[in-house]
């Protein structure tokens, strides 16, 4: 018996507009740029049209066609906010999927942030904010957690156990698994009841990254071929976890690559094998046993070949921006100014720090592709200018309340 668990990450940040020193003290609009590369509204509408709407339609059709088919999503709070603001029809179509009872919604930090690393207290607040948001939008309480970019470690598991989730998702990175397989459930040290679901990165990335790669020996990838790879796990695992960005469909892999046709046929092909079945993450946690303790003393993530934190932290700009942002925590929260607090939190979204990454900048690879700024340096400049303005608002607020 082999279970197949599909989880799609749905997230768009509030990109910081081109914000120059002249704007400091004059404009507190940080997230509205009219240029096509930085306009959050334009980008959301484009992604909705290319990905969210057609993929939601495909999945809805598949859920109707195959009563055993199941999926799961994590939608960041900032994505939900943007859908409510710019694309309510898209939000409705997500609600329809959830309405089938076979699309589970996971929990994450509302602001898709790195808060666990910089402020565990703020992290907990953002988890609770997200929980409340999911409750208000979909009317249900999420039971399974996934952290920003699948960032995970023992200490994260510790906190997630305290927050009473039944399972947590992580990257099935080689350096944490060693000889073990990602196709089983595990548990973190000291928390036998918290189930750990690990991404099968080979099979996941076959779809997410290699699907349209003509130089790949397995090109073209068809649903029967992929199903045969899943079948091959039978007997050698309890579950295959396919975790990927939702934007894989139609945005990273364009419609003309055949990605939608692939998805259209996948559930049918998987279900042809009588031992296969679909699960959502919480069903997997209920049904399948942990096969052992997995010790992860350091952070892993699903980013880049390194699968560590180096996409968001570690260069002098990223570290400066992050430390200065989180240093404001107490002062910002003390103001009880909801706009100020919301702006501060929107600045925590991990994408801002990803844009400042210089690791691969000259090679023109995926980082460049996903960077709406001309360079990591320009991303840093706008971010720090915004932070200066935020500090200015903060000190005005504080001096007012002191008088």
């Amino acid at each position: 018996m082999s279970a197949l668990c599909l989880y799609f990450q749905v997230h768009q940040p509030y990109r910081v507009r081109k914000y120059r020193i002249f704007d400091i003290g004059r404009s507190h609009e940080y997230f509205s740029d009219s240029s096509p590369r930085l306009s959050n509204k334009t980008i959301l509408n484009k992604v909705s049209e290319k990905c969210y709407l057609p993929t939601n339609n495909t999945l809805l059709r598949l859920l109707k066609k195959h009563p055993q088919f199941k999926i799961s999503f994590s939608l960041s709070g900032v994505l939900l906010d943007q859908l409510q603001e710019f694309a309510p029809a898209v939000l409705d179509s997500f609600k329809k999927l959830v309405g089938t009872g076979r699309a589970e919604i996971l929990c994450e930090t509302y602001f898709h942030s790195l808060s666990f690393i910089y402020s565990p207290v703020e992290f907990t607040r953002q988890v609770n904010l997200h929980k409340a948001k999911i409750k208000s939008v979909f009317g249900l309480t999420p039971l399974v957690f996934r952290n920003t970019e699948l960032i995970y470690s023992n200490s994260l598991a510790e906190r997630i156990a305290k927050l009473r989730f039944k399972a947590v998702l992580a990257e099935g990175a080689d350096n944490i698994l060693g000889w073990r397989s990602p196709n089983y459930l595990y548990h973190p040290p000291g928390h036998p009841k918290l189930k750990l679901l690990l991404k099968n990165y080979r099979l996941s990335d076959d779809i997410a990254f290699r699907f349209s790669d003509k130089s790949w020996s397995q090109y073209p990838l068809t649903a029967p071929k992929f199903a045969s790879w899943v079948n091959a796990v039978n007997g050698g695992g309890d579950i295959v976890n396919l975790f990927m960005d939702y934007e894989t469909f139609g945005e990273h892999q364009w419609a003309d690559t055949g990605i939608f046709e692939f998805m259209d046929h996948l559930p049918g092909e998987i279900l042809k094998h009588q031992d296969n079945y679909f699960v959502t993450p919480s069903q997997a946690a209920d049904k399948l046993p942990s096969r052992g303790e997995l010790d992860v003393p350091f952070y892993v993530s699903w980013a880049d070949v390194e699968r560590d934190l180096s996409a968001w932290t570690g260069n002098p700009m990223q570290d400066d921006a992050l430390s200065k942002l989180y240093a404001l925590e107490k002062l910002v929260l003390r103001t009880k100014d909801s706009e100020l607090i919301a702006d501060w939190r929107r600045l925590q979204t991990s994408d801002h720090f990803y844009y400042m990454c210089t690791k691969w900048f000259s090679d023109g690879d995926v980082h460049k592709y996903f960077n709406p700024y001309d360079s990591p340096y320009e991303a840093f400049i706008s971010f720090m200018n915004v932070l200066s303005d935020l500090k200015l608002r903060l000190s005005t607020k504080i001096s007012k309340s002191e008088n």
């Binding site: 002098p316 400066d320 840093f380």
Partner: protein, 395 residues
Amino acid sequence: MPIRVLMFGWELPPFNSGGLGVACDGLSTALAQQNIDLTFVLPHRFPINKGGFRLVFADDQPSDWSNQSPYLHPTSSPAAYIRDLLLSVRRYARNARRIAAENPHDLIHAHDWLCFPAGISAGQVSDRPLVSHIHATEYDRSGGSGADPIVYSLEKQGLDEADAVIAVSNFTKRLLTTHYFQPASKVNVVHNGIKTEEFGFESPSGTDILDPLKKAGYKVVLYVGRLTMSKAPDNFIRAAARVLEYQPKTVFLLAGSGEMESQVISLAARLGISDKVLFAGFIRGTLLHQVFRTADLFIMPSVSEPFGLTALEAVASGTPALISRQSGVSEALSHVLKVDFWDIDEMVNQIVSVLSHPPLHDALQANGRKEVKGVSWAAAAAKTIEIYKKVLRKN
């Protein structure tokens, strides 16, 4: 059998006034290291010795060098100056016939319009193919208008008669196809390189001239280049005035001379920032290296810059660079700040940011120094040799 190249240049360091001499030196040395049998011709006798390749002086008379460089502050009126220069160019071309006969070669390589007539004459004698190398055009020098028609026609002739053309950037290639009507297939892009070892980062030699300012807490923003319209030193001053509103403890240093000097000085005075603007004049060697190393930021605001070697020198010295997108070097470097030359607002935004955020400075410095190592003369020479081979196959 090594390829024998007869190369016509105009200047070599230390007897150079700008990038042309530096580029010829870097390329020639690297070509010789890659087994090219190189004879480098100079128009006049200079007291220099070069390892790796042969030097030939077209005229045995020692030159009054400072009067023969098109890149220095003209001492006479522009028209008289061009006239004198043209006389030297023609004399060089006459001497080139003899040199071609005396020095057996497989092909001829000539740098910029000053040497094109020499290259063409040499080819008439030896009937060998000509490679014309463009480092800068009259179009760049004049800032797009008022190009000298004689200079333009010499450039055009040098390009038309060439079997292959080398441009120092795609930026220059576009210019050659649009304003000189060269077919794109004939123009090859070879970016300049840099001898990074000459811009040692860790080895401060002697006392730094800017030490007192730095100790007093001032940041230094640097401009290096001729004070001429195409390099927009006036925009540097305009940006400076606005940066000072945000970062008053900043000094703006201009290293270079040129016909805009008095204009730039009076602009600084009019904007009330004369006390924050320093003019170092034309500097070279150790002093220039020191200035590069001391500066917190190097700026190249050019309106039209075929390449821009000084940007490579700055980055190799560990100084972050802010460069105009209207430059060739912006094609070769990623880890620099880039700005459209007309966007002074953005220039100010970026300058203030570098001065205000040391981590931005440090990231640009570290990544830039790593990147610039790959922009080498060896790579430029290898590309050039491919072009030689292509030309020789056709002939």
